[in-house]
Symmetry: C2
Subunit: 337 residues, 2 copies
């Protein structure tokens, strides 16, 4: 299968679901053929430390040290720091494990010393032995604000402290107007070596949309020679993890894979969509949006699941890529700008 | 014994030895009758965190959570953070335990938010249920530089990283010229309620001298109505812990309790000195310096040892206080300024 794979893939990822697919991709692609661009609008400063939940989940997953029970943090974690912090009356709603803390302390130290988040992430990835390139979507701060029935909440307050309970009415990405997408991210989208751009099965609203909302990203996706393929985070009307389904319902959207496809295709972003066998009935609806659809098993429980879905999605993209090439033939300046 | 005790004591302390006596004092004095002033010239910034080894040792000891095996850090400590940090290629020469880390993270956060070290220390002490008042010697940074045969070393590099191996030729306290002694420290020395000023059995050069070197402290000690009593950190020609004896030898001083007494009395600071039974033979030499000397057991292995030495030292100071009063009668402006 590897011989037939496209030679470079850019994957846009949030946390858990995205990290699972990224791990699969990292195992079916050569080490230097994968760029994972992570949402950083969940990042926040806590206890004087810069915490980047999506970057960390992706890094820990690619490094094989993620905690697969919780979906966040490290395996074999201990909690002495948090116990002692609690004893001191400190804020313990955000669960910082002792091992995890080393990441935040080192990153925060580097950032204070003037390094960019990209540089700090690169150093962490090298230390963790990660072959793939992991990029923050931007070196500039973007912060998701969740608009809820009880008022505006910072993302981590909504997500962790309040356990996603308040009903959402929308989102705002503070800083998005001035944040520049990471330069290597934009150039990877445009790189002729890039043969697939994947939107991982991550939360469309708070994991993927912040990446898309960065200046120039949507245009770059529409202009890219490589096909853009998203994998649905909604399976059988529910999200495997996280509040995506709850958010869709609260926003008045159908809680379906097709609803996710429409969410992206309203902006003319998709060249392909991947849905689970459980949602095969929605394939026609999605194709009607003009989006070729792959129906396969998308639940990633085992490592083999991750590898298989990654391989199938890359093969699917490769087939679409040929079509993009065909279309590009009629409009080269637009497709190969 | 308690009824006869002086009503307020100010103890100048470094780390381990000082903390042991401070614990004894905290148990023989009413909670609000003890002020422990800690050396902060060992403090340093590491991994973006402010670390205050002497303050921490005193706080952990008074709170009953100190690690009595290592002499620093907390009991029941775990080391996952440092393991993970090592994995990331971070600096691990300074042993930061997971529980200990909570102290540094909280303190650093407060300092960055504009609180003083005094305020941060007070908050930590309240959280840890410490009744005594624990004060940093100053809210301004003072940093001990150890002058050695191999050049100048910051204190923690000398003490921890290089394990006190380089021979010392002297010390410099960077920042001492502009640092102000903590205001409550100076006023406690002058307070009429203070009936004893104790110099704990701490390293004379790097734990006590920085406190004494602060502007106005030596004058305040000489002027204080309360007697100044030091407890020798040298017993039988050796220090219980730390490099005091090694330093004395390298500086060409006799490695004796009398050598310590002379070190302080050259500056006319002492009203009394406490030495161990093992050094009873030096009592006459110390008395010849004009310093009344108490000979007793000063090795503090058990909690009972700490309480007994604290009680005996306070009783000794109380007797000296009466004499100070007598002397004061002949020179009130000098003793009761």
């Amino acid at each position: 299968m590897n011989e037939a794979l496209p030679i470079h893939c850019v994957a846009l990822s949030g946390g858990v679901g995205g990290a699972k697919l990224a791990l699969g991709l990292s195992r079916v692609l050569p080490g230097d053929a994968l760029t994972v661009v992570c949402n950083t609008a969940d990042d926040f400063d806590h206890l004087g430390l810069r915490i980047c939940p999506d970057l960390d989940t992706v890094m820990y997953t690619l490094a094989g040290i993620s905690n697969r029970v919780t979906g966040w943090g490290q395996a074999h974690e201990t909690w002495s720091f948090l116990e002692a912090l609690s004893h001191l009356g400190g804020e313990t709603w955000f669960r910082l494990g002792d091992r995890d803390l080393a990441t935040h302390v080192e990153r925060s130290r580097w950032l204070r010393a003037g390094e960019t988040l990209t540089e700090a992430t690169d150093a962490l990835c090298r230390a963790l032995g990660i072959a793939a390139r992991v990029l923050p979507m931007s070196d500039d701060p973007v912060r998701t604000i969740v608009l809820t029935e009880t008022g505006e909440l910072s993302f981590q307050h909504y997500f962790v402290r309040d356990a996603c309970e308040p009903a959402v009415s929308g989102f705002r990405f503070d800083g998005i107007d001035t944040a520049r997408p990471q330069a290597a991210f934009l150039s990877a989208l445009e790189d002729q070596a890039t043969r697939a751009i994947l939107v991982c099965p991550s939360n469309p609203f708070v994991s993927v949309d912040p990446v898309l909302a960065l200046d120039g990203v949507e245009e770059a996706l529409r202009r890219a020679a490589a096909p853009v393929v998203a994998v649905s985070p909604i399976i059988g009307g529910a999200a495997i993890k996280g509040p995506a389904a709850k958010m869709m319902a609260e926003l008045g959207m159908p809680v379906t894979a097709a609803g996710v496809a429409r969410h992206y295709q309203e902006r003319d972003l998709l060249d392909g969509f991947v849905i689970d066998d459980a949602d095969a009935g929605q394939a026609a609806e999605i194709e009607d949006l003009g989006v070729p659809t792959l129906v396969t098993g998308t639940v990633m429980e085992t490592l083999a699941d991750r590898e298989r879905l990654a391989g199938e999605t890359m093969d699917f993209a490769r087939g679409l890529g040929a079509r993009c090439g065909d279309r590009a033939g009629t409009s080269p300046p637009e497709r190969f700008a």
